[in-house]
Symmetry: C2
């Protein structure tokens, strides 16, 4: 028997595991309060409602077989109805495609929309799951910075004026991961206008839009142009275990994604799609459920932001946490969050250094904190620990 | 608003929906007995056992969250134990990777093992789901014919002697789809030897191995060499809805697949993986369940083969149906199965013409028949109809 196996494809040498995943492995010690994760709170997930839906789906043989590649038809119908309300136009079922979480939509779209070497514009700091698929597709990636109103459209305009011709612009429009900000309505309109003037696709990646705290997220970028492909997911409002994400896109994009989905994994799970359809169609229940999640996260977010501002004053600026799952903070006193991390872990608190999300910016003095899985007093304790670590690192 | 959207990637022009899928859309009329599908029988799937497992998995919050990219650890442990027994060696958990059906393993492996332009050897007739991913990966595909002992290793040897250097050889080793044959033990050893001598990977795609009728399938090709990556699935023995396939491969292949799985869809469903683990670990129940499936399919297969031989005599040769889901038949009287199909549909029976599976061979006088979803008398009726269609087409 040979001692070494045949070689692997050469492109693999360029791929790396996400720095965040590697970090998370180090922060699972029980005594550490982790703000590093990016998970919704399993305690808030509707376990009993899911169990009831599973029982219903399994009362006949309809949930056992392979299902259609674009998704179980009644689930697509429910999603089409919800998206019609969200987008203010009738969304036909053929423009709705169910994916294995939004991540699969990103992955299949990167194959459908990008030739090798195509230009993709992302936000900086970036959602690393998007960076990963665009890099794997051989795209050239250029980053546009975020500010408090989301993607800086002036910077995108400059890129275009320099003659850059993106195939795709990717944005997490609401409650950005990791940046915490939401794109303003004015910028949404401007982005859509540029997409039509310059003939590029916008991927509006919106897993957090329903997790608003004080006021609903603005109308989606997809309301402004059919060049916008809208992605969303049941993972953050119901449960990741369903692996139900969806895409709203022109029919020919959906049909191209369908061809690739057949090769990628044939189809999703009829069982989890039937569960998702049941819960998403149960409007009264869903509204109350999402309201509970939203209210709980809001309390946690506000406790975290208050604790950060109280402990650090003007040595830190952080986002207001108006929704979603993350707060982004920038140290104003030159603190290097990569160097601070070992001190923080020693004190029993973890976060993700900003550099993990950097494309062009270095974000060495920034960090992402997730507030979803700890209650207010635990979050306050986490920031106490962070303040102690900061004092030690400085001293 | 612009009336046309931006362009799609240029490679899409080369991709087509599978001819079988398109055909299946035409054969769902209620009055047609379809031998064209390729689905296991939902009536035989263990609905109540799945429902019980779902209830158990949902009695706590452990089945709601994202799970690990390589699969829920206890499921991998169960699979490692089963595969250790199958392969006659201790298979470490790190060499077991859970995928969204075997199809996802094929798709991710095509990225992990193939540089663009790499040579892939497939069997002719071929499993079209494999062809689809190898084509999408930009591989050069060369086909080696099947005979009653499976892949013709002499033809592979000739290829190698001509200086061809495959990166991957793909085989459906047991109860071939569509060919119905099983690779003999001698050829398994020879294939493994060639893989080691010439430094190529073998992908042993084995979704049907447990569906043997009279005697168990031979030891897997993977018992002969570590150059063999073994794929299997719960879809045919339990239910497709779980979307649980798995791969047994060297650690570095699994780690490369893990990187790509993160980008492809993050992870599988914790719920369906926990259900699969529960059922696969319940050995007494599983043995009895698979035995029922096997016995039922065996009865159907034999009824089909008997009916074909009775109706067509020496105008047809067909495989013996020793396991799996398919019978492959070749007309000896020059019948063109593509031309026969409209007559067959008129008489109320459907099958897939051999040309749908052809790589190098044309298989114009061949067809694939699936025997899983009809009982014996329905299958006999189907062959009556086929014989009538054949008589009309000739007359």
């Amino acid at each position: 028997m040979s001692s070494t196996n045949p070689p692997l494809a050469s492109k693999l040498s360029g791929l790396q595991s996400s720095a965040i995943r590697d970090l998370l492995k180090l922060t699972t010690r029980a005594e550490i309060i982790s703000l590093a994760g990016g998970l919704p709170d399993a305690e808030l997930m509707p376990r009993e409602r899911i169990a009831k839906a599973a029982e219903g789906a399994l009362s006949g043989t309809g949930a056992l077989q392979y299902t259609e590649s674009p998704g179980w038809a009644p689930l697509r119908a429910v999603l089409a109805e919800r998206e019609s309300a969200r987008l203010g136009r009738v969304v036909p079922v053929d423009e709705v495609f169910v994916t294995h979480g939004s991540q699969q939509a990103l992955s299949l779209l990167s194959e459908v929309l990008l030739d090798p070497g195509a230009l993709v514009v992302v936000e900086d700091p970036a959602y690393v799951g998007a960076l990963q698929v665009f890099r794997a597709a051989g795209a050239r990636i250029v980053a546009v910075p975020l500010d408090a109103e989301g993607m800086r459209i002036d910077a995108l305009r400059e890129l275009l004026a320099r003659g850059e011709r993106p195939a795709v612009v990717h944005t997490v429009s609401n409650f950005h991961n990791p940046g915490g900000v939401t794109m303003s309505p004015r910028r949404r309109g401007e982005l859509a206008e540029l997409a039509e003037a310059h003939g590029f696709w916008v991927i509006e990646d919106d897993p957090y839009g329903e997790l608003w705290f004080d006021s609903p997220a603005p109308a989606p970028v997809a309301t402004y142009s059919r060049n916008v492909i809208r992605l969303s997911s049941a993972s953050k409002i119901i449960a990741p275990t369903l692996r139900v994400g969806w895409m709203v896109a022109p029919d020919r994009v959906c049909r191209a994604v369908e061809l690739l989905k057949q090769g990628a994994d044939l189809c999703g799970s009829a069982l989890t799609q039937q569960i998702a359809a049941d819960l998403l169609a149960d409007e009264t229940w869903l509204t109350a459920h999402v309201d509970t999640v939203r209210t709980t996260y809001s309390t946690r977010a506000k406790a975290l932001v208050h604790a950060v501002r109280t402990a650090f004053g003007d040595r830190i600026t952080c986002t207001d946490a108006t929704g979603g799952m993350f707060v982004w903070a920038d140290f104003a006193d030159g603190t290097d969050t990569g160097a601070l991390l070992p001190h923080a872990l020693n004190e029993g608190v973890a976060y993700v250094p900003g550099s993990a999300f950097a494309v062009d910016g270095a974000y060495r003095e920034s960090m992402r904190m997730c507030f979803t899985t700890s209650d207010a007093s635990t979050l306050e304790q986490a920031i106490d620990r962070l303040a102690r670590a900061h004092a030690r690192a400085a001293g």
